[in-house]
Amino acid sequence: MTRNILVILVLFTCVPAFAPNARAAMSRGFNRLLDAVVRIDVREETFEAGARRFTGSIGSGVILSDDGLVLTNAHVASPRAVELSVTLASLERVNATLVGWDHWTDLALLRLDLAEVKRRGLKFTHAEFADSDKLYPGQTAYAVGTPYGLTRTVTRGVISNDRRYFADNRGVNGYETGLFNTWLQTDAAINPGNSGGPLVDEDGHVMGINSRGYLGAENLGFAIPANIARRIVAGLAHDGSITRSYIGIVPGSLLDLEGFYSLKQNTGLLVNSVDPGSPAAKAGLRGGDIVLTINGTPVDGRFPEQLPPIQNLIASLPVGSTVKLAVKRGEQTIPFAITTEKLESRQGEEWAFEKWGLTVRKVSRAYARENQLADDTGLLVIGVQPGFPAAVAGLERGDIITKVDQQAITSLDVAKKLHAAFAARPVPTLVEAQSDRQVSLYILKP
C-alpha cells in the first residue's frame, strides 16, 4: 500500500522536472509567434476542365515584417490565385496580394493590404527566423498552422532529420521542387492546411516553413529550412521572383563509384544525364562525365543530400555568365566553359479559350527538350469541354496544338489573337496538332 503511494508520489514529483520545457513553450517569444501565424484562404483559377474554373483552398502562413509580408508555400499561393484572404491571430480577415513565388523552394510571399489594416486598426506581430544550420536531430519543434481549416493549431515533435533530400519534378502543382534545397524533416503532425505555416523552436523562432508530409505515413513531415527561406524572401521582396542559372546537367550520386572512376575520396559529381539542346549538351558534356570542380571549387556529390547545394552553386550564378568545369572523362580531365541560361520550369503558362472549349499550357523549352520536340512551339491541351468545338473536332488532353489557321503557335499571344478573331467572326478553323509525334488535322466549327 505504502509502496503504491510512493510510486504515485515519485511520478508526481517527476512532473516539475518537465515543467521548464512546458513553460518555455509558453514563453513570450512563442506567444508572439502565435500572433504572427495566419490562415490563408485562396481562390484560384484552374484550367483543367476545358474552361476557366475557380477552386478554393486553405493554407497557413507567417507574418515576417511590420509592413505585412507573409511567407507561405508556393503550392498555397501561386500566380493562379485570384483572391487571397488572410485571417490574423485576432480572427480578423484582411486581403493580401502575391508579391512573388518560387516553386523550386515551394515558397511564396504575400503582402497584407496595409491600408485596410490601418483603416480597421488591426494588430499583428511578426516572427523571427532561427539559424537553421544550427538545428540538430532530436531538437523540439512545433508546427503552427491551420490543418484542415482548424485555425491556430499547434502540434509538437522533433527535428527528425536536418538535411533531407527530396526532389520532385511535379511536386508543386505540376512545377518542379526540391532541386536546390534540402529539407527539415519533423514528426510534428503536419496535415493538409498546415502548408505554409512555420515550424518553430521553443522560443517561437521559425526553423522552417512546413510544406509537405507523406500521405498515409505516420508523421513524416517536411519543411523548408529557415536559412533557405530567408534568402528567397529577400529575393522575392526585391524582385518578385528568383532568377536562377541553368546549364542542363542532371546529377546522380556517386555513392561507391569512386573506385570505378579512380577518384580521390569525396570528390566529384556524377553527370547522370545532360538535357538535350542545353548549354551543357552544346558544350559537349555527356552522361557518365564526372565534374571535379565548378569555377575552381572542388565538389563532392557522393550522396543525394549533397546534390542540392551543388546544383544551387550553379543556379546562383548570374544568367549568361560562364561557368568553368573541370570534367573527368575516362583517364582525361577536360576543361569546359559553359554559358548559363535562365532556368525555366517545364510547366508553361496556362490559358482558357472559352469559345473553343479548350484549355492549354504553353509548351516550355524544358518540356520541349524532355519530349524531344523540335522547339517550344505549341500549346499542350490540358482540357476540352464536352460539346464545344475543340472536343467535337476530336482534340484531346495531351495533344500539342502546333498550328491554327496555318499559323505556327510560337506564343500564347498568337493563339489569343486567333481565338479573338474566331470569337468575333466564327468560321471553320484548321488546327494542326500532334500527339506522340503523330500529326493530325482538326476543324474547329462554330
Binding site: 563509384l257 570505378f260 544525364s273 555527356r286 552522361g287 524531344q372 484548321l430 494542326e432 509525334r437 476543324i443
Partner: protein, 465 residues
C-alpha cells in the same frame, strides 16, 4: 402476275435452302480438310512458350497460312521451334512436323509448310474457290465456317454459321456477319460450299458490365476464338501466292513516311478534297525513299499512283489504304504520290526501297551470368528514339532477367546501352565482345553501363559479387 412470279422465286429459294442444309454435314466433312491446328514453341532466354493457332491449307504443296497475330513482331524467326500440325478431330498424338517459311508483309500472314505425311489428307481452300469471281455475298445470305476446340479435345471441329449483315472496306472488302462464322484465320463458306472468304480477328463488341460494386461500365470484349468478320475471297485469293521466298519475309517495300494520320470528312472538305480523303505524313524518315523524292513533314498524301485516296469508314482505314498500295508493290517500283503542301499540290515520284533491317532480324546475344540479351541497334530503334542516323550506336537491352545483376542495377528492357565500363560501344560486335569478356571474368566484382531511357541517360553500376 408479278406477285405470283415473286412467290415462285421465293419457293424455289426456300427449297434450295432446305436441300443444301441437308448437305451441310457432307460439305463440312469435305471442307474441314482445308483446316488444321498448328502448335509451335517460342524459345526465349529462359523458357519455351507454346502457341496454338488455327491455319488453313493454301495449296497442294502443304503450305499452311497462320493469322498475322500468331507470332509476335519481337520474336526472331530462329526462335520459333518445333512446328506441329494436327488434323482436327484426330488424336493429338498423331501430328506432322512443319517448317516456318516467314511472314508476308502485305497480308501479315505467316506461312508454314507441313511435311509430306499429312499432305494427302489436306485439301487447299482453292479447291472450293473454283469460279470465284468478284461477286460479293448478298446481305442476309448464310455463311458458315469451322471452329476448333482445344488441344485436350483433339481440336474437334465444329460448325459456326451466320447471315451476312454488312459489307465494308477495311480497305480489303470484308463482310460482317450476325454471328460468329469461323475461328480467326479459317475459311468461311457459302451455303453451296464455295469459299466466301477468310475470317479475321481483332474485332470487339461493347458491353455494359454490372457487378456488386459497379453500376454499369462499358467494356469491350473480343472473342479471340471465333470471329464474325471475314475478308472476301477475291481479296484473299491473290495473297495465297505470297509465300515468302526467305524466312525474313524479304523484300519488304518501304516508303519511309512515318506516322500516317487519317483525316475526318470535315478536314477533307476544308481542304477541298471532295468525296475523297488523305493522310497526313507526321515525319519523313531520314534516308528514306520519301525523303529522296522530296516529301516533307506534314505533307498530306491525297493520291497514290494517280488514284485519289478514297473516303473509307472509319477514317482510319484511309491509312490502311495507302499502306496497302505501298505494300502490294516491290522495292525498286516507281510510284507517283500527290501531296498537298499548304495550298499547293505537288507530284512526287518515289522509288520504293527494301525496308531497313527490322527488329526481328537484328542480331542478338544472351549473357546468362549478367542477365541480359543485347540486340543490334536497327533503323527502327533510331526512329522510336528520335536518334539521327549519325547518332546510331550502342545496343538495345532486348531482355533483362529478373533479379539478375543488370536487373538489380536498374536496367530495363528496351534501354539503350551507350557505354560499357566508361567507353563508348559503337557497334553491336563491340558491345558483344566487351560483355563477353565481363561475362567470362569470374573475378570481376562490378562493371558500369551508361544507358539512355526516355531521352535521359543514367549510369548504372552492376554488382557481380
Amino acid at each position: 402476275m408479278k406477285l405470283s412470279f415473286c412467290r415462285g422465286l421465293l419457293a424455289v429459294l426456300l427449297l434450295a435452302g432446305v436441300a443444301r442444309a441437308a448437305d451441310l454435314p457432307e460439305l463440312f466433312k469435305e471442307r474441314v480438310k482445308s483446316v488444321v491446328a498448328v502448335e509451335f514453341f517460342t524459345e526465349t532466354e529462359l523458357d519455351r512458350r507454346p502457341t496454338v493457332t488455327c491455319a488453313f491449307v493454301a495449296d497442294a504443296a502443304g503450305t499452311l497460312v497462320l493469322p498475322p497475330d500468331a507470332v509476335s513482331g519481337r520474336v526472331q524467326p530462329s526462335q520459333l521451334k518445333d512446328f506441329r500440325v494436327y488434323i482436327p478431330g484426330k488424336p493429338v498424338g498423331d501430328f506432322a512436323h512443319a517448317v516456318y517459311l516467314g511472314q508476308d508483309a502485305l497480308s501479315g500472314w505467316h506461312f508454314v509448310r507441313v511435311e509430306e505425311k499429312f499432305r494427302s489428307q489436306l485439301t487447299p481452300v482453292t479447291a472450293f474457290a473454283a469460279g470465284a469471281g468478284p461477286a460479293e455475298p448478298a446481305m442476309g445470305s448464310s455463311v458458315w465456317g469451322i471452329g476448333l476446340r482445344r488441344k485436350d479435345e483433339d481440336f474437334v471441329p465444329y460448325l459456326l454459321s451466320g447471315d451476312v449483315s454488312h459489307i465494308e472496306s477495311f480497305p480489303e472488302r470484308a463482310a460482317i456477319a450476325l454471328a460468329e462464322v469461323a475461328a480467326p484465320g479459317l475459311p468461311v463458306f457459302d451455303r453451296d460450299g464455295g469459299l466466301a472468304g477468310i475470317a479475321i480477328g481483332g474485332f470487339g463488341s461493347t458491353f455494359m458490365q454490372f457487378s456488386r460494386t459497379e453500376r454499369g461500365s462499358r467494356v469491350m470484349l473480343m472473342n479471340v476464338e471465333e470471329s464474325r468478320v471475314f475478308y472476301l475471297t477475291h481479296e484473299v485469293l491473290p495473297w495465297l501466292g505470297r509465300v515468302p521466298s526467305s524466312v525474313d519475309g524479304r523484300p519488304i517495300p518501304w516508303l519511309g513516311a512515318y506516322g500516317l494520320q487519317p483525316m475526318d470528312p470535315d478536314v477533307a472538305a476544308f481542304l477541298k478534297l471532295d468525296n475523297q480523303s488523305g493522310c497526313v505524313v507526321s515525319e519523313v524518315l531520314e534516308n528514306s525513299p520519301a525523303q529522296a523524292a522530296g516529301m516533307k513533314d506534314r505533307d498530306i498524301i491525297v493520291a497514290v499512283g494517280g488514284q485519289p485516296v478514297p473516303r473509307l469508314k472509319p477514317d482510319r482505314v484511309a491509312v490502311g489504304y495507302v499502306e496497302r498500295e505501298i505494300g502490294r508493290r516491290k522495292p525498286g517500283d516507281k510510284l507517283t504520290l500527290t501531296v498537298l503542301r499548304g495550298s499547293e499540290r505537288v507530284e512526287l515520284t518515289v522509288t520504293l526501297a527494301d525496308e531497313p533491317k527490322l527488329q526481328r532480324e537484328a542480331d542478338r546475344k544472351y549473357f546468362d551470368r549478367l542477365g541480359l540479351t543485347v540486340r543490334e541497334f536497327v533503323y527502327g530503334d533510331g526512329v522510336v528514339r528520335r536518334a539521327k542516323l549519325a547518332e546510331h550506336r550502342g545496343v538495345i537491352a532486348h531482355f533483362v532477367k529478373n533479379n539478375s545483376p543488370v536487373g538489380t542495377a536498374g536496367l530495363r528492357t528496351d534501354d539503350w546501352i551507350l557505354e560499357v565500363d566508361g567507353t563508348e560501344v559503337k557497334t553491336y560486335a563491340e558491345a558483344v565482345a566487351k560483355l563477353a569478356v565481363i561475362e567470362a571474368d569470374t573475378g570481376r566484382a562490378e562493371f558500369v553501363l551508361l544507358i539512355s531511357r526516355n531521352n535521359e541517360t543514367a549510369v548504372l553500376r552492376v554488382k557481380l559479387k
